[in-house]
Amino acid sequence: MAADYAYVALFLIVGLLFVVLNIDVLSRIIRPANPTPEKLTTYECGEDPIGGPWLRIHIRYYLFTLMFILFAVETVFLFLWAIVYRSLGLFAFIEMMIFIVILLVGLAYAWAKGALEWV
Protein backbone atom coordinates (compact mmCIF):
# COMPACT_ATOMS: atom_id res chain seq x y z
CA MET A 1 0.00 0.00 0.00
CA ALA A 2 2.56 2.55 1.10
CA ALA A 3 4.59 1.86 -2.03
CA ASP A 4 1.70 3.28 -4.04
CA TYR A 5 2.46 6.62 -2.55
CA ALA A 6 6.12 6.57 -3.55
CA TYR A 7 5.10 8.44 -6.64
CA VAL A 8 3.31 11.08 -4.61
CA ALA A 9 6.39 11.72 -2.52
CA LEU A 10 8.56 11.76 -5.62
CA PHE A 11 6.25 14.22 -7.38
CA LEU A 12 6.32 16.55 -4.39
CA ILE A 13 10.11 16.39 -4.18
CA VAL A 14 10.60 16.84 -7.90
CA GLY A 15 8.14 19.70 -7.88
CA LEU A 16 10.23 21.41 -5.23
CA LEU A 17 13.46 20.71 -7.10
CA PHE A 18 11.99 21.93 -10.37
CA VAL A 19 11.07 25.28 -8.87
CA VAL A 20 14.37 25.65 -7.08
CA LEU A 21 16.26 24.67 -10.22
CA ASN A 22 14.42 27.18 -12.32
CA ILE A 23 14.51 30.10 -9.93
CA ASP A 24 17.72 29.67 -8.04
CA VAL A 25 19.95 27.95 -10.53
CA LEU A 26 18.91 28.46 -14.11
CA SER A 27 17.42 31.91 -13.82
CA ARG A 28 20.00 33.11 -11.30
CA ILE A 29 22.81 32.57 -13.77
CA ILE A 30 21.29 34.62 -16.55
CA ARG A 31 19.14 37.23 -14.86
CA PRO A 32 20.38 40.65 -13.80
CA ALA A 33 20.39 41.76 -10.18
CA ASN A 34 20.44 45.46 -9.48
CA PRO A 35 18.42 45.89 -6.34
CA THR A 36 17.85 49.45 -5.22
CA PRO A 37 16.08 50.41 -2.01
CA GLU A 38 13.18 51.88 -3.96
CA LYS A 39 12.78 48.82 -6.10
CA LEU A 40 12.60 46.68 -3.00
CA THR A 41 9.85 48.64 -1.29
CA THR A 42 6.45 47.11 -0.93
CA TYR A 43 4.10 48.02 -3.76
CA GLU A 44 1.31 50.28 -2.72
CA CYS A 45 0.38 52.06 -5.91
CA GLY A 46 3.59 54.08 -5.97
CA GLU A 47 3.21 55.65 -2.56
CA ASP A 48 5.01 54.80 0.62
CA PRO A 49 3.04 52.12 2.44
CA ILE A 50 1.11 53.29 5.46
CA GLY A 51 1.48 50.76 8.21
CA GLY A 52 1.56 47.06 7.50
CA PRO A 53 -0.99 44.50 6.41
CA TRP A 54 -0.31 42.09 9.23
CA LEU A 55 -3.32 43.01 11.26
CA ARG A 56 -5.65 41.02 13.37
CA ILE A 57 -8.20 39.42 11.10
CA HIS A 58 -11.74 39.98 12.19
CA ILE A 59 -13.45 37.13 13.96
CA ARG A 60 -16.35 37.06 11.50
CA TYR A 61 -14.12 35.51 8.85
CA TYR A 62 -13.60 32.49 11.06
CA LEU A 63 -17.26 31.63 10.82
CA PHE A 64 -16.65 30.43 7.30
CA THR A 65 -13.79 28.30 8.47
CA LEU A 66 -16.02 26.78 11.13
CA MET A 67 -18.67 26.02 8.55
CA PHE A 68 -16.04 24.50 6.31
CA ILE A 69 -14.71 22.21 8.99
CA LEU A 70 -18.22 21.11 9.76
CA PHE A 71 -18.96 20.15 6.19
CA ALA A 72 -15.50 18.79 5.45
CA VAL A 73 -15.84 16.31 8.28
CA GLU A 74 -19.27 15.44 7.04
CA THR A 75 -18.06 14.76 3.52
CA VAL A 76 -15.44 12.38 4.81
CA PHE A 77 -18.27 10.27 6.21
CA LEU A 78 -20.26 10.73 3.04
CA PHE A 79 -17.43 9.40 0.89
CA LEU A 80 -17.36 6.12 2.74
CA TRP A 81 -21.12 5.98 2.67
CA ALA A 82 -21.24 6.62 -1.07
CA ILE A 83 -18.84 3.81 -1.93
CA VAL A 84 -20.69 1.11 -0.08
CA TYR A 85 -24.11 2.62 -0.64
CA ARG A 86 -25.36 -0.01 -3.08
CA SER A 87 -24.64 -2.86 -0.77
CA LEU A 88 -26.35 -1.21 2.20
CA GLY A 89 -29.62 -0.16 0.60
CA LEU A 90 -32.55 1.62 2.17
CA PHE A 91 -31.17 1.66 5.68
CA ALA A 92 -28.08 3.57 4.59
CA PHE A 93 -30.18 6.02 2.67
CA ILE A 94 -32.47 6.89 5.53
CA GLU A 95 -29.69 7.08 8.02
CA MET A 96 -27.55 9.31 5.91
CA MET A 97 -30.52 11.51 5.05
CA ILE A 98 -31.10 12.08 8.74
CA PHE A 99 -27.44 13.01 9.07
CA ILE A 100 -27.61 15.38 6.11
CA VAL A 101 -30.84 16.95 7.31
CA ILE A 102 -29.29 17.72 10.67
CA LEU A 103 -26.43 19.43 8.89
CA LEU A 104 -28.79 21.28 6.62
CA VAL A 105 -30.65 22.54 9.65
CA GLY A 106 -27.31 23.82 10.84
CA LEU A 107 -26.76 25.50 7.50
CA ALA A 108 -30.23 27.03 7.61
CA TYR A 109 -29.52 28.32 11.09
CA ALA A 110 -26.28 29.91 9.98
CA TRP A 111 -28.08 31.34 6.97
CA ALA A 112 -30.85 32.82 9.07
CA LYS A 113 -28.38 34.19 11.61
CA GLY A 114 -26.51 35.95 8.83
CA ALA A 115 -23.28 34.07 9.44
CA LEU A 116 -23.00 33.48 5.70
CA GLU A 117 -22.87 37.18 4.91
CA TRP A 118 -19.41 38.35 3.96
CA VAL A 119 -18.78 41.83 5.23
Binding site: G46, E47, I50, G51, L55, I57, H58, V119
Partner: protein, 380 residues
Protein backbone atom coordinates in the same frame (compact mmCIF):
# COMPACT_ATOMS: atom_id res chain seq x y z
CA UNK B 1 8.25 58.21 -4.15
CA UNK B 2 8.77 60.27 -1.06
CA UNK B 3 5.91 62.67 -1.38
CA UNK B 4 5.71 65.07 1.46
CA UNK B 5 2.60 64.07 3.27
CA UNK B 6 1.99 66.62 5.94
CA UNK B 7 -1.69 65.90 5.79
CA UNK B 8 -1.13 62.19 5.99
CA UNK B 9 0.69 62.66 9.26
CA UNK B 10 -2.34 64.46 10.61
CA UNK B 11 -4.62 61.73 9.34
CA UNK B 12 -2.58 59.12 11.11
CA UNK B 13 -2.41 61.14 14.27
CA UNK B 14 -6.12 61.65 14.54
CA UNK B 15 -6.86 57.99 13.91
CA UNK B 16 -6.49 55.75 16.87
CA UNK B 17 -5.21 52.77 14.97
CA UNK B 18 -7.64 50.01 15.55
CA UNK B 19 -6.25 46.54 15.15
CA UNK B 20 -8.67 45.60 12.41
CA UNK B 21 -8.51 48.71 10.28
CA UNK B 22 -5.88 49.66 7.82
CA UNK B 23 -5.15 52.56 5.51
CA UNK B 24 -4.58 51.57 1.92
CA UNK B 25 -3.38 53.71 -0.93
CA UNK B 26 -5.46 53.09 -3.99
CA UNK B 27 -3.61 54.88 -6.69
CA UNK B 28 -1.84 56.71 -8.20
CA UNK B 29 -0.45 53.61 -9.91
CA UNK B 30 -3.58 51.51 -9.84
CA UNK B 31 -5.44 50.06 -12.80
CA UNK B 32 -8.86 51.30 -11.75
CA UNK B 33 -8.27 54.90 -10.88
CA UNK B 34 -8.48 55.90 -14.55
CA UNK B 35 -5.30 57.89 -14.51
CA UNK B 36 -3.34 59.08 -11.55
CA UNK B 37 -5.86 59.64 -8.85
CA UNK B 38 -4.92 58.63 -5.36
CA UNK B 39 -7.55 57.50 -2.93
CA UNK B 40 -6.60 56.84 0.64
CA UNK B 41 -9.02 54.24 1.91
CA UNK B 42 -9.57 53.15 5.45
CA UNK B 43 -10.49 49.50 5.27
CA UNK B 44 -12.19 47.41 7.86
CA UNK B 45 -11.67 43.97 6.43
CA UNK B 46 -12.94 44.59 2.93
CA UNK B 47 -15.30 47.41 3.77
CA UNK B 48 -14.36 51.00 3.08
CA UNK B 49 -14.90 53.18 6.12
CA UNK B 50 -13.40 56.42 4.92
CA UNK B 51 -12.00 57.83 1.72
CA UNK B 52 -9.67 60.77 1.20
CA UNK B 53 -8.92 61.66 -2.43
CA UNK B 54 -5.66 63.31 -3.38
CA UNK B 55 -5.50 65.14 -6.70
CA UNK B 56 -2.98 67.03 -8.67
CA UNK B 57 -0.72 64.40 -10.16
CA UNK B 58 -1.56 65.74 -13.61
CA UNK B 59 -1.79 69.40 -12.72
CA UNK B 60 -0.28 71.63 -15.38
CA UNK B 61 -1.95 74.92 -14.53
CA UNK B 62 -4.12 75.04 -17.58
CA UNK B 63 -5.60 78.31 -16.39
CA UNK B 64 -2.21 79.99 -16.18
CA UNK B 65 -1.42 78.78 -19.69
CA UNK B 66 -4.75 80.19 -20.84
CA UNK B 67 -3.98 83.59 -19.38
CA UNK B 68 -0.87 83.68 -21.50
CA UNK B 69 -2.43 82.77 -24.84
CA UNK B 70 -4.59 84.62 -27.31
CA UNK B 71 -8.21 83.53 -27.41
CA UNK B 72 -7.79 81.37 -30.48
CA UNK B 73 -4.59 79.82 -29.19
CA UNK B 74 -6.35 78.36 -26.17
CA UNK B 75 -8.43 76.01 -28.32
CA UNK B 76 -5.71 73.34 -28.70
CA UNK B 77 -5.20 73.41 -24.95
CA UNK B 78 -8.86 72.78 -24.22
CA UNK B 79 -8.52 69.51 -26.11
CA UNK B 80 -6.17 68.32 -23.44
CA UNK B 81 -8.65 68.85 -20.63
CA UNK B 82 -11.14 66.10 -21.17
CA UNK B 83 -9.28 64.18 -23.81
CA UNK B 84 -12.14 61.73 -24.26
CA UNK B 85 -14.52 64.47 -25.31
CA UNK B 86 -12.23 67.02 -26.91
CA UNK B 87 -14.85 68.23 -29.35
CA UNK B 88 -17.09 69.13 -26.48
CA UNK B 89 -14.34 71.07 -24.78
CA UNK B 90 -13.70 72.98 -27.98
CA UNK B 91 -17.37 73.69 -28.21
CA UNK B 92 -17.70 74.80 -24.61
CA UNK B 93 -14.74 77.13 -24.87
CA UNK B 94 -15.73 78.58 -28.23
CA UNK B 95 -19.28 79.07 -27.03
CA UNK B 96 -18.07 80.96 -23.99
CA UNK B 97 -15.94 83.21 -26.19
CA UNK B 98 -18.76 83.70 -28.67
CA UNK B 99 -21.13 84.71 -25.91
CA UNK B 100 -18.52 87.04 -24.49
CA UNK B 101 -17.75 88.64 -27.85
CA UNK B 102 -21.34 88.45 -29.03
CA UNK B 103 -20.59 86.54 -32.19
CA UNK B 104 -23.35 84.54 -33.82
CA UNK B 105 -22.37 81.57 -35.90
CA UNK B 106 -23.80 80.23 -39.19
CA UNK B 107 -26.63 77.70 -39.12
CA UNK B 108 -24.61 74.95 -40.79
CA UNK B 109 -21.94 75.30 -38.16
CA UNK B 110 -24.56 75.03 -35.44
CA UNK B 111 -25.90 71.81 -36.90
CA UNK B 112 -22.45 70.38 -37.44
CA UNK B 113 -21.55 71.22 -33.88
CA UNK B 114 -24.56 69.33 -32.63
CA UNK B 115 -23.83 66.31 -34.84
CA UNK B 116 -20.17 66.24 -33.92
CA UNK B 117 -20.91 66.92 -30.29
CA UNK B 118 -23.39 64.07 -30.02
CA UNK B 119 -21.04 61.70 -31.81
CA UNK B 120 -18.45 62.75 -29.28
CA UNK B 121 -20.91 62.00 -26.51
CA UNK B 122 -21.39 58.50 -27.89
CA UNK B 123 -17.64 58.02 -28.15
CA UNK B 124 -17.13 59.25 -24.64
CA UNK B 125 -19.88 57.07 -23.21
CA UNK B 126 -18.47 54.11 -25.13
CA UNK B 127 -15.09 54.56 -23.57
CA UNK B 128 -16.79 54.90 -20.24
CA UNK B 129 -18.78 51.73 -20.75
CA UNK B 130 -15.67 49.86 -21.82
CA UNK B 131 -13.52 50.96 -18.92
CA UNK B 132 -16.39 50.40 -16.54
CA UNK B 133 -16.51 46.86 -17.90
CA UNK B 134 -12.81 46.59 -17.13
CA UNK B 135 -13.45 47.76 -13.59
CA UNK B 136 -16.01 45.02 -13.18
CA UNK B 137 -13.69 42.49 -14.81
CA UNK B 138 -15.27 42.20 -18.24
CA UNK B 139 -12.51 42.60 -20.78
CA UNK B 140 -14.47 41.78 -23.87
CA UNK B 141 -16.92 44.65 -23.54
CA UNK B 142 -13.96 46.99 -23.37
CA UNK B 143 -12.65 45.87 -26.73
CA UNK B 144 -16.04 45.94 -28.38
CA UNK B 145 -16.70 49.46 -27.17
CA UNK B 146 -13.32 50.56 -28.41
CA UNK B 147 -14.03 49.12 -31.83
CA UNK B 148 -17.08 51.36 -32.25
CA UNK B 149 -15.26 54.28 -30.73
CA UNK B 150 -12.53 53.84 -33.31
CA UNK B 151 -15.16 54.24 -35.99
CA UNK B 152 -16.22 57.56 -34.51
CA UNK B 153 -12.59 58.57 -34.30
CA UNK B 154 -12.24 57.69 -37.98
CA UNK B 155 -15.11 60.03 -38.72
CA UNK B 156 -13.49 62.76 -36.67
CA UNK B 157 -10.16 62.15 -38.33
CA UNK B 158 -11.76 62.62 -41.72
CA UNK B 159 -13.12 65.92 -40.49
CA UNK B 160 -10.33 67.39 -38.43
CA UNK B 161 -7.30 65.27 -39.19
CA UNK B 162 -6.87 64.20 -35.58
CA UNK B 163 -8.12 61.28 -33.60
CA UNK B 164 -8.08 62.61 -30.06
CA UNK B 165 -7.14 66.28 -29.80
CA UNK B 166 -9.16 67.71 -32.61
CA UNK B 167 -8.86 71.51 -32.17
CA UNK B 168 -11.60 71.60 -34.75
CA UNK B 169 -13.97 74.28 -33.54
CA UNK B 170 -13.15 77.93 -33.83
CA UNK B 171 -14.56 81.03 -32.24
CA UNK B 172 -17.30 81.78 -34.75
CA UNK B 173 -17.90 78.29 -36.09
CA UNK B 174 -15.78 75.43 -37.31
CA UNK B 175 -12.31 75.35 -38.83
CA UNK B 176 -13.50 73.63 -42.00
CA UNK B 177 -16.60 72.25 -43.56
CA UNK B 178 -16.95 68.48 -43.39
CA UNK B 179 -15.61 66.58 -46.40
CA UNK B 180 -17.86 65.35 -49.14
CA UNK B 181 -19.80 62.24 -48.23
CA UNK B 182 -19.04 62.58 -44.57
CA UNK B 183 -22.66 62.97 -43.54
CA UNK B 184 -23.49 59.73 -45.36
CA UNK B 185 -20.67 58.06 -43.45
CA UNK B 186 -22.22 59.24 -40.22
CA UNK B 187 -25.52 57.77 -41.26
CA UNK B 188 -23.85 54.47 -42.10
CA UNK B 189 -22.13 54.47 -38.75
CA UNK B 190 -25.40 55.01 -36.91
CA UNK B 191 -26.95 52.13 -38.80
CA UNK B 192 -24.05 49.93 -37.71
CA UNK B 193 -23.98 51.23 -34.18
CA UNK B 194 -27.59 50.81 -33.06
CA UNK B 195 -27.61 46.98 -33.23
CA UNK B 196 -24.26 46.91 -31.42
CA UNK B 197 -25.91 48.45 -28.39
CA UNK B 198 -28.03 45.35 -27.89
CA UNK B 199 -24.88 43.25 -28.17
CA UNK B 200 -23.34 45.23 -25.36
CA UNK B 201 -26.53 44.62 -23.42
CA UNK B 202 -26.00 40.89 -23.66
CA UNK B 203 -22.72 41.26 -21.81
CA UNK B 204 -23.77 44.02 -19.48
CA UNK B 205 -27.39 44.95 -18.89
CA UNK B 206 -28.84 41.48 -19.25
CA UNK B 207 -26.08 39.65 -17.46
CA UNK B 208 -26.84 38.67 -13.91
CA UNK B 209 -23.34 39.18 -12.59
CA UNK B 210 -23.28 42.69 -14.02
CA UNK B 211 -26.66 43.47 -12.49
CA UNK B 212 -25.80 42.11 -9.09
CA UNK B 213 -22.50 43.90 -9.01
CA UNK B 214 -23.87 47.39 -9.45
CA UNK B 215 -27.46 47.41 -8.22
CA UNK B 216 -27.90 49.11 -4.87
CA UNK B 217 -24.27 50.14 -4.67
CA UNK B 218 -22.85 53.62 -4.19
CA UNK B 219 -26.10 55.43 -3.57
CA UNK B 220 -25.97 59.19 -3.97
CA UNK B 221 -29.04 60.84 -2.54
CA UNK B 222 -30.59 63.67 -4.60
CA UNK B 223 -29.97 66.26 -1.90
CA UNK B 224 -26.32 65.27 -1.76
CA UNK B 225 -26.13 65.42 -5.53
CA UNK B 226 -27.38 69.01 -5.46
CA UNK B 227 -25.22 70.01 -2.52
CA UNK B 228 -22.15 68.66 -4.26
CA UNK B 229 -23.32 70.26 -7.52
CA UNK B 230 -23.06 66.98 -9.37
CA UNK B 231 -24.09 67.24 -12.96
CA UNK B 232 -24.64 65.16 -16.04
CA UNK B 233 -25.36 61.46 -15.62
CA UNK B 234 -24.38 61.65 -11.95
CA UNK B 235 -27.21 64.07 -11.27
CA UNK B 236 -29.67 62.30 -13.54
CA UNK B 237 -28.77 58.98 -11.99
CA UNK B 238 -29.94 60.44 -8.68
CA UNK B 239 -33.37 61.02 -10.08
CA UNK B 240 -33.15 64.71 -11.02
CA UNK B 241 -34.25 65.40 -14.56
CA UNK B 242 -31.80 68.14 -15.40
CA UNK B 243 -30.01 68.48 -18.69
CA UNK B 244 -28.55 71.75 -19.90
CA UNK B 245 -29.41 70.79 -23.44
CA UNK B 246 -33.04 71.09 -22.50
CA UNK B 247 -33.11 73.28 -19.40
CA UNK B 248 -30.65 75.94 -20.47
CA UNK B 249 -30.38 75.32 -24.21
CA UNK B 250 -27.25 76.44 -25.94
CA UNK B 251 -26.56 76.24 -29.65
CA UNK B 252 -29.67 74.95 -31.36
CA UNK B 253 -30.61 72.18 -28.97
CA UNK B 254 -34.10 73.65 -28.59
CA UNK B 255 -34.83 72.42 -32.12
CA UNK B 256 -34.24 68.76 -31.29
CA UNK B 257 -36.53 66.14 -29.85
CA UNK B 258 -34.97 63.87 -27.30
CA UNK B 259 -35.66 62.30 -23.94
CA UNK B 260 -33.66 62.76 -20.79
CA UNK B 261 -33.22 59.40 -19.09
CA UNK B 262 -33.14 59.44 -15.32
CA UNK B 263 -32.56 56.72 -12.78
CA UNK B 264 -34.66 56.66 -9.62
CA UNK B 265 -32.30 55.25 -7.01
CA UNK B 266 -29.00 57.03 -7.41
CA UNK B 267 -26.96 53.84 -7.39
CA UNK B 268 -24.24 52.78 -9.79
CA UNK B 269 -26.77 50.90 -11.86
CA UNK B 270 -28.77 54.07 -12.47
CA UNK B 271 -25.71 55.97 -13.58
CA UNK B 272 -24.84 53.11 -15.89
CA UNK B 273 -28.35 52.92 -17.25
CA UNK B 274 -28.60 56.67 -17.80
CA UNK B 275 -25.44 56.68 -19.87
CA UNK B 276 -26.49 53.59 -21.74
CA UNK B 277 -29.75 55.26 -22.75
CA UNK B 278 -28.11 58.56 -23.51
CA UNK B 279 -26.25 56.83 -26.30
CA UNK B 280 -29.59 55.98 -27.90
CA UNK B 281 -30.78 59.55 -27.45
CA UNK B 282 -27.60 60.85 -29.03
CA UNK B 283 -28.21 58.63 -32.01
CA UNK B 284 -31.66 60.17 -32.26
CA UNK B 285 -30.29 63.70 -32.13
CA UNK B 286 -27.66 62.99 -34.77
CA UNK B 287 -30.30 61.53 -37.05
CA UNK B 288 -32.45 64.63 -36.67
CA UNK B 289 -29.43 66.81 -37.30
CA UNK B 290 -28.54 64.93 -40.46
CA UNK B 291 -32.04 65.48 -41.80
CA UNK B 292 -32.16 69.19 -41.07
CA UNK B 293 -28.65 70.34 -41.84
CA UNK B 294 -28.60 73.33 -44.22
CA UNK B 295 -25.82 74.23 -46.64
CA UNK B 296 -23.76 77.35 -46.19
CA UNK B 297 -20.61 78.64 -44.63
CA UNK B 298 -19.32 77.19 -41.40
CA UNK B 299 -17.35 80.10 -40.00
CA UNK B 300 -18.69 83.53 -39.18
CA UNK B 301 -16.50 86.39 -40.36
CA UNK B 302 -14.43 87.21 -37.31
CA UNK B 303 -11.51 89.50 -36.78
CA UNK B 304 -8.01 88.11 -37.20
CA UNK B 305 -7.09 89.37 -33.78
CA UNK B 306 -9.90 88.61 -31.41
CA UNK B 307 -10.41 90.98 -28.52
CA UNK B 308 -13.15 90.50 -26.01
CA UNK B 309 -14.91 93.48 -24.46
CA UNK B 310 -14.25 94.15 -20.78
CA UNK B 311 -16.47 91.91 -18.70
CA UNK B 312 -16.85 88.37 -17.59
CA UNK B 313 -18.97 85.38 -18.42
CA UNK B 314 -19.81 82.04 -16.91
CA UNK B 315 -20.90 79.85 -19.79
CA UNK B 316 -21.85 76.22 -19.43
CA UNK B 317 -22.64 73.29 -21.67
CA UNK B 318 -23.70 69.71 -21.05
CA UNK B 319 -20.58 67.72 -21.78
CA UNK B 320 -20.75 63.91 -21.63
CA UNK B 321 -19.59 64.14 -18.04
CA UNK B 322 -21.80 66.96 -16.90
CA UNK B 323 -21.80 70.69 -16.70
CA UNK B 324 -18.64 71.99 -18.33
CA UNK B 325 -18.39 75.64 -17.43
CA UNK B 326 -15.93 78.26 -18.56
CA UNK B 327 -15.53 81.39 -16.53
CA UNK B 328 -13.68 84.01 -18.52
CA UNK B 329 -12.78 87.48 -17.33
CA UNK B 330 -11.76 89.77 -20.17
CA UNK B 331 -9.88 93.00 -19.76
CA UNK B 332 -10.12 94.14 -23.36
CA UNK B 333 -6.81 92.70 -24.50
CA UNK B 334 -6.37 89.76 -26.83
CA UNK B 335 -5.77 87.43 -23.91
CA UNK B 336 -8.22 86.51 -21.20
CA UNK B 337 -7.47 88.12 -17.87
CA UNK B 338 -8.72 85.16 -15.93
CA UNK B 339 -9.80 81.87 -17.34
CA UNK B 340 -11.29 79.20 -15.16
CA UNK B 341 -12.64 75.83 -16.19
CA UNK B 342 -15.40 74.37 -14.10
CA UNK B 343 -14.57 70.76 -14.82
CA UNK B 344 -17.58 68.46 -14.39
CA UNK B 345 -15.53 65.56 -13.15
CA UNK B 346 -13.69 67.70 -10.63
CA UNK B 347 -17.02 68.57 -9.08
CA UNK B 348 -18.51 65.09 -9.46
CA UNK B 349 -15.46 63.53 -7.89
CA UNK B 350 -15.83 65.68 -4.82
CA UNK B 351 -18.95 63.67 -3.98
CA UNK B 352 -16.92 60.46 -3.87
CA UNK B 353 -16.13 60.57 -0.13
CA UNK B 354 -19.90 60.68 0.43
CA UNK B 355 -20.64 57.66 -1.75
CA UNK B 356 -17.86 55.26 -0.79
CA UNK B 357 -18.13 54.51 2.92
CA UNK B 358 -19.94 51.30 3.76
CA UNK B 359 -19.19 49.49 0.53
CA UNK B 360 -16.46 47.03 -0.32
CA UNK B 361 -13.22 47.53 -2.18
CA UNK B 362 -14.73 45.94 -5.26
CA UNK B 363 -17.64 48.36 -5.03
CA UNK B 364 -15.25 51.25 -4.58
CA UNK B 365 -13.86 50.44 -7.99
CA UNK B 366 -17.33 50.30 -9.50
CA UNK B 367 -18.41 53.53 -7.83
CA UNK B 368 -15.31 55.35 -8.95
CA UNK B 369 -15.90 54.00 -12.44
CA UNK B 370 -19.47 55.22 -12.40
CA UNK B 371 -18.33 58.79 -11.73
CA UNK B 372 -16.58 58.68 -15.12
CA UNK B 373 -13.57 60.77 -14.25
CA UNK B 374 -10.90 62.04 -16.59
CA UNK B 375 -7.95 62.99 -14.50
CA UNK B 376 -6.61 65.49 -17.01
CA UNK B 377 -9.76 67.46 -16.49
CA UNK B 378 -9.88 67.01 -12.73
CA UNK B 379 -6.33 68.20 -12.25
CA UNK B 380 -6.28 70.67 -15.13
Amino acid sequence: MTTINLHLQQVKERTTESMEEMWVNMGPQHPSTHGVLRLLLKLDGEVVRECIPYLGYMHRCHEKIGENRAYVQIIPYTDRLDYLASMYNNWAYCLACERLMEISIPARAEYLRVIIGELQRIASHLIWLGTFGLDLGNFTLFMWCFREREMILDLFEAVSGQRINYSFMRIGGLALDVPEGWLADVKAFLAWFTPRLSEYDRLSTDNIIWQKRIQGVGILKPEDAISYACSGPMLRGSGIRWDLRRDDPYGIYDRFEFDIPVGPNGDVWDRFWVRRQEMEQSVKIVEQGLKAIPPGPVLAPVAKKLRAPVGDIYSRVESPRGELGHYIVADGSERPYRYKVRAPTFVNLSALPVMLPGYMVADAVAILGSVDIVLCEVDR
